[in-house]
Every structure is written in structure tokens, then in C-alpha cells.
Amino acid sequence: MARLFIRSLTSAPLLHLYGLMMLCGLVVLSGCSLQSSPLLYPKGPVASTERELMLFAIAIMLTVLIPVWGLTLWCCRRYRKGGKGEYRPDWCSSTLVECGVWGGPLIIILLIGYLVVVYTFRLDPYKPLTVHSTDTTPFPVQAVALDWKWLFIYPELGIATVNELVFPQSRPLALEITSDTVMTSFMIPALGGQIYAMAGMTTHLNLIADQPGTFTGRNTQFSGTGFPQMYFSAKALPDKAFEDWLGTVRNASSMLNSAHYHQLARPNKSYAPVEYFSSVDTDLFNHILARYSAPSTALANGAL
């Protein structure tokens, strides 16, 4: 029911109305249309729902903001010295007004609070996703934040890539994320929200692309000199194109073993070019994690 309500409130014509209200004439910045906004024009159901939720919350809150603006202007005009309003030097309480003043914001917050509960669970980044309620299994990818690039390991395929995340569009993307450097944050705005990457820990993110396409992903958490260069392209490919791409990777000459990994993990200041590895140590992700786990394990895994 609530969902239906939101749907109707986020229908196309209304969306444009909200957009108009929000921009408040600031789109005088012509030539820089918000069309390129991955948040307002998302490419996946997670990001779409996040946008619906945002626009709906804005609409609810405008029901308070607009009266506040109106009341402010009206009071300033009417009750200015010499204005039309009657000066009542002792008027300072009214039970009715007080009820409204506490009740109004309370109702709005109850409403949005309800949305918070429903949507925080619905959009939990850890929750596995399904496509079109079929039984398609998620496509697993392990992402590792390095200084200053992203390494993607495809455990199902035994390959790895740098700064390019490619997945079959027909399957949901199930990411396991860690960092082999400082704390960073992994995000593909067109598909959904972000999650931190931290050394010795794994975080999860589940995303779906509605349509084939190339989207920008990046680290959004400042992580040092090369931070501006820590972006990558995420490609959702149709099955056929994905197979072709897979062939290219399998034909790549480099293999990602422990020695090569150490070389890769060294900081690069300019943008790290896309690299393909035709094979990879199956346990690499766990080895990277283990470097930072409890002291005893770390010593045992001293090799990496």
C-alpha cells in the first residue's frame, strides 16, 4: 500500500515537479543538466528505490518548509514596525498553537520514521538480490581497495581485473569488499549506495543493473594522494558480450600470484590502467584478509 502510494508520488510528471522545486531556479546553471546525475537517473533497482525514497521524503518535508517560508515572510511584512498587524506586547502562549507546533513535526517524523524502518531493511546492502524473481544465482566478485586502484577478483571464473568491474547484466552482483590499505568506500552511484572497505574485514554489497551499460564507480572516502584517481568503470554486459570479454581476459598473458600481487599493491599516483589477469590464486582474497587478522593468524600467514 505504502509502496503504491510512493509509486504514484514518484510518477514521471510529479518527479519533474519535485525536481523543479528542488532546483529552485538554480538550473540557471544551464549547460550542466542534472541528466548526468547517477542518483536522479539511476540504472538499477537499488538506486531507483533509494531515489524514490529520497524524493518522497523531500515531498513530505516540503509540507513543513513551504509554510515556514510563507509564515516568515508574512510575519515580517505584516508585523514590521508601522505594518498592518496589531501589536500584542504580551501575547506569548497558546495551547492550540503549541499542540500544532509539537504535533506537526512529530507526525512528519513518524511518517518518515516508518519509511526508515521499511526501507532500511529492504535496502540492506547485505541482503542478496534476485532478478525478476527468477532463481538466477548472484555473480560473486571480490573487490580489494589498493593505493590507489581497485582490484577485482572473480572467484567463479578464476580471473582478476584492475580498475574494471565487468559482470553479466542478467545476474545480480554480489560483492565482497576489503581493503589492503587505509579505510576506503566503494560506490557505483548509478546502481546503489556505498559501503566502507576496511583492512582485515569484509563488507558486502549487492547490486543489480536494469540494463547493459558502463557506469562510473569510485572510492568516495579520502585515502591519500592518489584518491582522485581511485575510480573505475563498472560494465554490465549482455551474456554474449560478457562471454566475449571473458575470452579476452582468459587470453591475457599475466597471472596474479602472490609475488605479482605485491608489485600491484604498490602505490601508483597517476591513474592505474585497466589490467587483466587470466588466472589468480583462488585464496588471494582470504590471504589479503588474513594479513590483518588476529596476531597469531597473521604470524602464521606471515608469507603474504
Partner: protein
């Protein structure tokens, strides 16, 4: 070399023109006043009358001088960042990454710790004792110590521009980036010690004002009769006393990681950076309300005075303030919804955050209903208040958006977030402080500020704010992360250029503040506040001369009613003076300055690992405290004759203004 620890000639900023420029400007900013004071032979006067003063009014003025100096320093950082981002599409811009990183770190650190905190502490110092009809704060000497520790912290940040470098880890200093492995230089240590030294000062201020407000009120002034600014100060002081220890602890732990090789927050050996995020924001979120509640108090006073009406819903405003203070400790996790907490945890903290919007909304409406049926004059202080109401609600809306965890997943770490918290802190807090400055300046100095320039300040800051931060909201929607030194997305650039233009407007507004001061000082004779009550005020601070005598009130007024002074004026009970009796005040002391200097040296020595100097500074601090505590308190005594002669000019002016009738005793 070990004698000087890590300090060597390499610490001097000869490595780039930007660093040299910063160092030269800093040195000039220190040297020029020093030369001027020496040339005019003003040092003895400055030392006697100001630096060693324990008078809350003078301490307050010194806090605000510090705040304005740091506002300039922090703003230079801001406009440099805006200039960099306006041009850095597909190129390095004019700032190398290292500089850009130092600048965004020092901008945040300075604006929060050394601009906003001193500004609000200064206003509180000048006004709260007067509003509650007290002679001074509860612990005047402690007050002086707080000031000089804060100044020492600011001095450490300023020193980092000339000797060594500042942190590049952002004002929040998240590890492991801020750990020794990834930030081996002295920058993060400067940040840690500046925070710890000034943090002690802030904590002492908090304690001081809790005691002052609870113990030193005028007879008859029960809690529910206190002016609202006193209420917000009380809540802020409680927040300071409870929240700052968390900051001190977390900074000390990071310092232990860095200096003694411990592993609280490192990647390895069981360290956990998530603990840092939690501890930092357990201080950090209350800090937002520490900054903003006093501003809420100022807006309340200004609205009531310039609408010439009592505050609407006084009780609601008090309860709303208290609820905000309480809830501010329950929401810290919303700063890292994206750290991977479960949906239940995120939902709980999201809702807790939104609940704060309720009392805040109540306050907005109460101010509006104070204007309603009033008789409004548009003094610059009220303009700031109206500008605040209109703009702050936008920040409130984006704040609620960010409190919805799934929306935050998209907005976190983007410029949308940057725009949001600037929307809270500029119209929310800074406009309040500026309003307070316009409103209370005559009380501190005895003449009013030029209102025409006051209006310029308001318009330039407001237009500048909208131009600078509305584009950042939008470019955040385009997915631009914060703290980006350069970028490759052409769609972002137009927004960033507009933001830079906005910063230029703010620059003009900043200049207008100083022009206003200059013009007002020049025209001070025409704008004397002879009655001590230039705005037909409502609260007790207007019931004494401007500036007040050191003892504030020749005889302590009664605070039987809300808006006590207004009620006195209504019932013609004001300005009925009785024969004063002698007043004892604490004498000035240089101990506060010495403690501040020792604290600063301790910090500097710890930053550079000059252990002998650190030990010396520590011994000096302990010795000073021991000497001060064991010595008999020195006082100055004001005899009744002296008081009468000090009060004479004010009473004469009152008589001239016809405020003291023939029948009233003088």
C-alpha cells in the same frame, strides 16, 4: 640532532611557493601586531589590562578576537579550495595534492575548534554572567586558563604553517590513514596536540559555566526564569563537560598509536579503526549541538528584543533545548551508516536522528510565533535571525534525508554532505554568532556598530552562502565525492565555478565585518550607548552601564520575573539604586598566560619528539598549578566611594535621558 628530536632545517617551508606563502602570511600576521604594539609601547598596558585579566568580559573579548583572526585564516583555506576545484578539471590546478589535503584538514580543524568554539565561548563569557546578574563566572582564574589553553592550541595550528606541515587526514583524522604507517610526518601530531591542549580549555569552560549558571544567579531567578541564552549555554556546557573527554581520549589513543607504537586503531595486531569512528563521533555529534545551541539562544534573545514581545512558548523552547542536548548523545552512528552495521542498528540510529528534528522544528515555529503580533524592527541581528530561519530549514531537510540510511548510502562522502553540514554551521551557528556580535557589541564596548554595514554583512554572507553551497548539493547529486583535489568529470565544473563565485561573495562579507568595525570605531562618539540599553532590551545585561564596571552591577539586581529588566521598566521599578557596599573581585594574574604558554610548548615538544622540553613544560605546568593553589588568593577591593564615582557617569546619563525621575533616589 636528538636534542631537537625530529626538528631540523627541513621543517622550514622552502619546498614550495604555496608553503612559503602560507608561512610568510602567518609570520606577518604575528609580526605586524607585535611591531605595532612595541612601537606604541602598548605591551605593559596590554599585559596589565588584558592578557592577565580574569574579568569575564575581557576574556570574552579576547576569545572573539581569536575567533575573528581564525575566521580569516579558515576562510583563506576555504577560498583556496574553491579556487582549486573550480579549475582542476583534468589538470592539477594550482595546488599539489599534499597542499590541498593540508588545507581541507586545517580548514575544518580551525573553523570548528578555533573559530566557532572561541566565538561562542566569547559571547557566553561576555553575556551570561550579566544576564544572570552575577559579578563574574564561578571560577574567574580557571576562565583565564581556558582562554590561554585555547589560544595555545590555535598557536600550534598556526605554527604548523611555518615549522613542519599540518595533517592531511581531514579534520576527523580517521585512522588507519592518520596512523604512523600512512602519515609518518608531524602533521597528525600537530592536529592531535592542538585538539588535546584546546580540548582541556573547552572542558574547563564547560565546567565553569555549569557551576556559574547553577550557583551564581541573581536572587529570584529560578531556572524557569532564566533568559533563553542562559538555558542554551547551560545545555551546551553540559554537553562540553560530557563530550570533550571522549575527544581527549580518542586523540590520546591515536597519539599513543603514533608515538609509542601501540595498536588501538591500526590495521595490524588487533587494532580497529571502527573504534576510532565511534569514539570520535560520540564527541563529534554533541559538538554540533555545542556549536549550535548557543546560537539558538542568541536567536531567541534577538527575536524577542526586536519583535518587542516575550518569547512565544518559553517552556517549549527550554524543553526543546534540553531534549536536543539529551538526544545529541544517541545519534553518533549516523556518521557512518556505511560502515556495514546491520539494518536494525542503522534504522534505530536513523530514527533517533530524526527525532531531533521535532524539537528543532518546535524552536523554529516558536521564533516565528514570537514575530507574530510583534512590532518588528529590522536590526542586522534580526536580519541574521530571519536569514537563519529561512536557510536552516533547508539544512534540516537535507539532514533528515541523510538520516535515512538508504539515502545516506548514496549521499555519504559526497559534496551533498559537505553542503548539508555547512548549511547547519553557517546559517545555523555562525549567523547566530554574528547576530550576537551585532546585538551585544555596545554592551562590551559602549558604542553601537554601524547598522548600514551590518546589513551589508548580512546580505553578502547570505548570498555568498547560497551561491557557494546550493551548487555543492547539486554536484553531490551528480556523485562528486568530497576532498577531491582534481577530477575528470566535466559536468561538475560549472557548479564548482558558481561555488567559487559564492566564496568571493563571502570574502566580501568577511571584509565588511572588518570595515564595519573600523567605521564604527571611527564614529564611536556619535554612537555612544550612554544608557546601557540601546535596543530597549528585556534581560538583565541591559540593566548596567555599557561597558559595565568590572563588578558588573553596583548592587545585584533581582531576577524575579522572566524578562526581568523589561518587567522592571514596565512597572517603573528600574533604575532604583541603593547605597552600594564594598565589592571584592579576584585580582589579575599572569598564571593563565604562563599555563597556556607551557601547554603550547608541551604540545610543540611532543609533536617534534623533543623529550627534554616536553618534560620541562610538564614540570612547569605542575609547578604553576601547585604555586597557584597554595598561594593566598589576591583580590581587588572596590570601596563604596570608588563604586559611586565609577557609577556616576552612567547615572548622570540616565538622568539626562529622563529615565530616572525626580522622585527616584540616585
Amino acid at each position: 640532532m636528538t636534542l631537537l628530536g625530529r626538528l631540523s632545517l627541513e621543517a622550514l617551508p622552502f619546498y614550495s611557493w604555496v608553503a612559503m606563502g602560507g608561512a610568510v602570511v602567518t609570520l606577518l600576521a604575528v609580526l605586524l601586531p607585535v611591531l605595532f604594539l612595541s612601537y606604541k609601547r602598548l605591551w605593559p598596558w596590554l599585559w596589565r589590562e588584558w592578557l592577565t585579566s580574569v574579568d569575564h568580559k575581557k576574556i570574552g573579548v579576547m576569545y572573539i578576537v581569536l575567533a575573528l583572526a581564525m575566521l580569516v585564516r579558515g576562510f583563506i583555506d576555504a577560498i583556496m579550495m574553491r579556487a582549486q576545484q573550480a579549475i582542476a578539471l583534468n589538470n592539477e590546478g594550482y595546488l599539489p595534492p599534499e597542499h590541498f589535503e593540508q588545507i581541507f584538514t586545517s580548514h575544518g580543524t580551525i573553523m570548528i575548534f578555533f573559530m566557532a568554539m572561541p566565538f561562542l565561548t566569547g559571547l557566553i563569557n561576555i553575556i551570561v554572567p550579566l544576564q544572570i546578574g552575577a559579578r563574574d563566572v564561578a571560577f574567574p582564574f580557571l576562565n583565564s586558563v581556558s582562554l590561554w589553553l585555547t589560544a595555545a592550541g590555535a598557536g600550534l595550528v598556526a605554527t604548523s604553517l611555518v615549522i613542519g606541515r599540518f595533517s592531511t587526514a581531514g579534520w576527523t583524522g580517521y585512522p588507519p590513514y592518520s596512523g604512523i604507517q600512512y602519515s609518518p610526518g608531524v602533521g597528525v601530531d600537530y592536529w592531535i596536540w592542538a585538539l588535546m591542549v584546546s580540548g582541556v580549555g573547552s572542558t574547563l569552560t564547560g565546567i565553569n559555566f555549569i557551576v556559574t549558571i547553577l550557583r551564581c544567579r541573581a536572587p529570584g531567578m529560578t531556572l524557569m526564569k532564566m533568559p533563553l541564552f542562559v538555558w542554551t549555554t547551560l545545555c551546551t556546557s553540559l554537553l562540553i563537560a560530557f563530550a570533550f573527554p571522549a575527544l581527549t581520549v580518542v586523540a590520546a589513543m591515536l597519539g599513543l598509536d603514533r608515538t609509542l607504537g601501540m595498536h588501538f586503531f591500526t590495521n595490524e595486531l588487533g587494532g580497529n579503526m571502527m573504534n576510532f569512528a565511534n569514539l570520535l563521533w560520540i564527541w563529534g555529534h554533541p559538538e554540533v549541538y555545542i556549536l549550535i545551541l548557543p546560537a539558538f539562544g542568541i536567536y531567541s534573545e534577538v527575536t524577542a528584543t526586536f519583535a518587542r514581545k516575550p518569547l512565544f512558548g518559553y517552556r517549549s523552547l527550554v524543553y526543546a533545548t534540553a531534549v536536543i542536548a539529551l538526544l545529541s548523545f544517541t545519534v553518533w552512528l549516523h556518521h557512518f551508516f556505511t560502515m556495514g552495521s546491520s539494518a536494525s542498528v542503522n534504522a534505530v540510529f536513523g530514527i533517533a536522528t530524526m527525532v531531533i528534528a521535532v524539537p528543532t522544528g518546535v524552536k523554529i515555529f516558536d521564533w516565528l510565533f514570537t514575530l507574530f503580533r510583534g512590532q518588528i524592527t529590522f536590526h542586522p541581528a534580526l536580519l541574521f535571525t530571519i536569514g537563519f530561519i529561512v536557510t536552516f530549514v533547508i539544512g534540516g531537510m537535507t539532514g533528515v534525508l541523510l538520516a535515512i540510511p538508504p539515502v545516506d548510502y548514496q549521499m555519504h562522502n559526497t559534496t551533498f554532505l559537505v553542503a548539508h553540514f555547512h548549511n547547519m554551521l553557517i546559517p545555523g551557528a555562525l549567523f547566530g554568532y554574528l547576530a550576537g556580535m551585532q546585538y551585544w557589541f555596545p554592551k562590551a564596548f559602549g558604542f553601537t556598530l554601524n547598522q548600514r554595514w551590518g546589513k551589508w554583512i548580512f546580505w553578502l554572507w547570505t548570498i555568498g552562502f547560497y551561491l557557494a553551497f546550493m551548487p555543492l548539493y547539486l554536484v553531490g547529486l551528480l556523485g562528486m565525492p568530497r576532498r577531491l583535489e582534481q577530477y575528470t568529470t566535466p559536468e561538475w565544473q560549472p557548479y564548482l565555478i558558481v561555488a567559487f563565485i559564492g566564496a568571493c561573495f563571502v570574502l566580501a562579507g568577511l571584509c565588511a565585518i572588518f570595515i564595519q568595525l573600523w567605521v564604527s570605531v571611527r564614529e564611536r562618539e556619535q554612537n555612544r550607548d550612554t544608557t546601557g540599553d540601546p535596543w530597549d532590551g528585556r534581560t538583565l545585561e541591559w540593566y548596567t552601564s555599557s561597558p559595565p564596571a568590572p563588578y558588573n552591577f553596583a548592587s545585584i539586581p533581582k531576577g524575579d520575573e522572566r524578562d526581568a529588566f523589561w518587567q522592571m521598566k514596565q512597572t517603573r521599578m528600574a533604575y532604583r539604586f541603593t547605597q552600594p557596599s564594598s565589592i571584592i573581585l579576584p585580582a589579575n594574574t599572569g598564571m593563565g598566560v604562563l599555563l597556556g604558554v607551557s601547554g603550547g610548548i608541551l604540545g610543540f615538544a611532543m609533536v617534534w619528539h623533543i623529550w627534554w622540553l616536553a618534560l620541562l613544560a610538564l614540570i612547569s605546568i605542575i609547578a604553576l598549578v601547585v604555586v597557584r593553589s597554595s598561594r593566598e588568593e589576591r583580590v581587588s577591593i572596590y570601596q563604596p566611594e570608588l563604586i559611586q564615582s565609577l557609577e556616576k557617569p552612567w547615572q548622570t546619563s540616565l538622568a539626562q535621558a529622563g529615565l530616572i525621575g525626580d522622585g527616584d533616589p540616585i
